[in-house]
Each structure stands twice: as C-alpha cells, then as structure tokens.
C-alpha cells in the first residue's frame, strides 16, 4: 500500500525549459489549475452568452453563482466593495473548482499545497493592506486602535491587533490547506482499508468512505466560501477601519 501522502506528489507532465534558472514545468498541479480556470470560464461564458431574458439551466446556474458571490461581497463588505467583486469571484471560483476537481479519483488537488494557499492568502493580504493605505493613508493604523479604548490598554492591545493582522495570511491559508489535505488523507486511508480488508469487514470502511466523500464535497464548497468570506471581511476592514 502506498503512502497516503503519495497523492500530493507533484509530477511533471510536460518538461519546459528553465526560466531564469527555475524549473517551471507543467505539472499535475498546473493541470488542475488550468482545469479550474476553464471550468470557471465555461460556466461564466454560458451564463453571459445568449443574454436571454428567461435563462436556460446553464445560464441560470451561472447567474446564481454570480448573484451568490455578489451578495456575499455586498452583504459582508458593503456596497462600496462592489468594485472588488471580480477579485472575490475569481478567488471563490478558482478555489471551489480546484477543490471539486480534486474530488475526482486520481485528480490532483492544488489547494492541498500550502504554497498555493499561502500565495493566494498573501495576494489577499497585500491587496487589502495596499487598499487600506490608499483609502486612508496613515489613518489605516487606526485599524489597530479601536475606538473608545483607553491609552494604557492600547499599549497592550495595539501590538496584539497588529500581530493578529499579520497572522491573517497564515491562518486563512492554513485553514484551506489543512482542510483539503486532511480530507484527502482520511479518504485515502479509509478507501485503502476497504481494499485491503476481507470482504466481510470491507463493508464498514466502504460505507464510511461514501459518507466521507459526501462530506468532502461539502468541505470543498465550505472552504472556498470561507476563504472568499474572509477576503470580504478584510476588504471591509480596509474600507471602513473599525
């Protein structure tokens, strides 16, 4: 039986010439990313293609997807955040389809790699921080000093706030990465048990694996939702401070 970590192995599919001395070959991870992008573009192009007054099923699905993310942005971060909607939509769709594609047997889950989730989280973190400084200048530091707090508390509170702010990319990326990795490891272990156990006992891990597969689909959606929801919360913080 192969290691349950074997599924996270990066395999080069197409060898590419080195770029500035770095290996940028097309891997199974790259393939999964491309699939996620293509799925998102297919769904959105179906939704916007015919521009019918009464939508068909695919168009309706795309519009529902759009409205869902749009209300997520405007409900969480306010009407003023509507211009950052494309970013949140891209993040949500990219992560969601990445997670869902990973649920196919033998498919690779690029969100189960900390470097990818951390890069996405850093993107959000840098974007939000720059947004905050652009909108408020140095007043952005008010974010670390909530209103109505006496100065002697601030001495303690401000560093804590600043620390928690800087830990945001770590927490948000670890949450997504750990959820996806743990889920796939558990799946792999349970299914390996089904294969290796005798016929009489194999029923139990088999039934369990079915339940866990359903649960993993749920987790795939929830984690994409949480990632984009937190992005919206951070955008709101940057726009309105406290």
């Amino acid at each position: 039986m192969s290691s349950p970590l074997h599924q996270f192995e990066i395999k080069t599919l197409i060898e590419l010439p080195k770029l500035a001395g770095f290996d940028v070959s097309f891997t199974n991870s790259s393939l999964a990313m491309v699939v996620s992008v293509v799925m998102t573009l297919l769904l959105t192009s179906f939704a916007g293609r015919k521009q019918a007054l009464i939508p068909n099923r695919l168009q309706s699905a795309g519009e529902l997807f759009y409205s869902f993310v749009h209300s997520l942005v405007t409900d969480t971060a306010g009407k003023g955040a509507a211009s950052y909607f494309p970013l949140v939509f891209s993040l949500f769709a990219f992560i969601l389809f990445g997670n869902l594609f990973g649920m196919f047997p033998f498919a690779f889950t690029f969100t189960s790699h900390i470097i990818v989730t951390f890069a996405l989280a850093m993107l959000v973190f840098l974007f939000v921080t720059i947004l905050g400084f652009v909108k408020h200048g140095l007043h952005f530091f008010r974010l670390f000093a909530p209103h109505g707090v006496p100065w002697y508390v601030l001495i303690l509170l401000a560093p804590i706030e600043m620390f928690s702010y800087c830990m945001r990319p770590v927490t948000i990326s670890l949450r997504l990465f750990a959820n996806m990795m743990a889920g796939h490891i558990v799946l792999k272990v349970i299914i390996a048990m089904t294969v290796s156990a005798g016929m009489a006992i194999a029923v139990f891990p088999f039934v369990l694996s079915l339940a866990i597969i359903a649960f993993e689909f749920f987790i795939a959606c929830v984690q994409a939702y949480i990632f984009s929801l937190l992005t919206c919360v951070y955008i709101k913080d940057a726009l309105e401070l406290h």
Binding site: F8, E63, F94
Partner: protein, 167 residues
C-alpha cells in the same frame, strides 16, 4: 510530505500566477460584465413592467373613482327626478281632486235644488189633492158642505209640519 518540498514551489507559484491572473482578467473584462449586463437588463425589464403595472393600476383607480362618482351622481339624479315626479303627481292629484270635489259639490247643490223644487211641487200638488179628498170625505161623513177655505188651511198646516219634518 510533498507539500514541504521547496523544489516544487517555483513551478506551482508560476502556474498559479499565470492561471489565476488569466482567470481574473478574463472574468473582469469579459465574463462578469456580460452576466452583469444580462442581470441588469432583466432587472430593468422587471422594474419597467412593475412601473407600468403601477401606472395602470393608478389609472384604473382613477377610472374607478370616476365611475363611482358618476354612479352616485346618477343615483342622486334618479332620486331627484323621482322626488320631482312624486310632488308633481301629488300636486296633480290634489288639483284634480279639488276640481272633482267642486264639480261634485256643484252637482250635488244643483241636485238638491232640483229635489227641493220637486218636493215643493209635490207638496203643493199633494195639498190640492188632499184638500179635495178631505172635503169629499167631510161631505160624505157629515152630509154637509165643507168650507173650502178652512179645509185648505188645515191641510196646509199639516203638510207644512210634515214638510218641516221631512226636510
């Protein structure tokens, strides 16, 4: 753990950057504006329809109000006409009744006069006849001749009393 192998970091980051930025720009410039246009078109259409419905409803309410006021006006007119006719009829009835009463009174008076003359005539003729019959009876009973004038006076007294009683 393959996730902690730094050798694969660069290629993952490179492809992440490539795919995600492609996705972002395609969505921002083409995918999302199209969906937005569709949704806005539908919203506008629905809003227009609702607006039209509201206007039509307003119009209908106005028309209904006009209809109702017309109806009450018509009802009032009908009531007025009926009242007019009623008073008219009542007046005509009174006039006719008065005229008829006068006519009846006149005829009654004429008839009474006629009756009176007829009775007087009758009494007059009865006086004569009764005087003759009384004189004849007196003659037959007494064998003597009755004095014409006193018989006639007695008869007149009796008939006059009777006439007073009768009238």
């Amino acid at each position: 753990m393959p996730q902690l192998n730094p050798e694969s970091f660069v290629t993952q980051l490179f492809w992440l950057l490539l795919t995600f930025s492609t996705l972002y720009f395609l969505l921002k410039t083409r995918g999302l504006p199209k969906i937005k246009a569709v949704l806005e078109m539908r919203e506008k259409r629905v809003e227009n329809d609702l607006q039209q419905a509201r206007e039509l409803q307003k119009e209908a309410t106005i028309l209904k109000g006009m209809l109702e006021s017309n109806q009450t006006e018509a009802q009032q007119q009908i009531r007025r006409i009926m009242d007019d006719m009623k008073t008219d009829i009542a007046r005509t009835v009174v006039i006719r009744q008065n005229a008829l009463n006068a006519e009846i009174a006149a005829e009654t008076a004429a008839a009474e006069v006629r009756i009176k003359t007829a009775r007087d005539e009758a009494f007059a003729s009865i006086q004569e006849t009764v005087s003759v019959v009384a004189a004849e009876c007196f003659a037959k009973l007494s064998g003597g001749q009755a004095q014409q004038q006193s018989v006639r006076d007695s008869v007149r007294v009796v008939t006059n009393d009777y006439q007073k009683l009768a009238s």
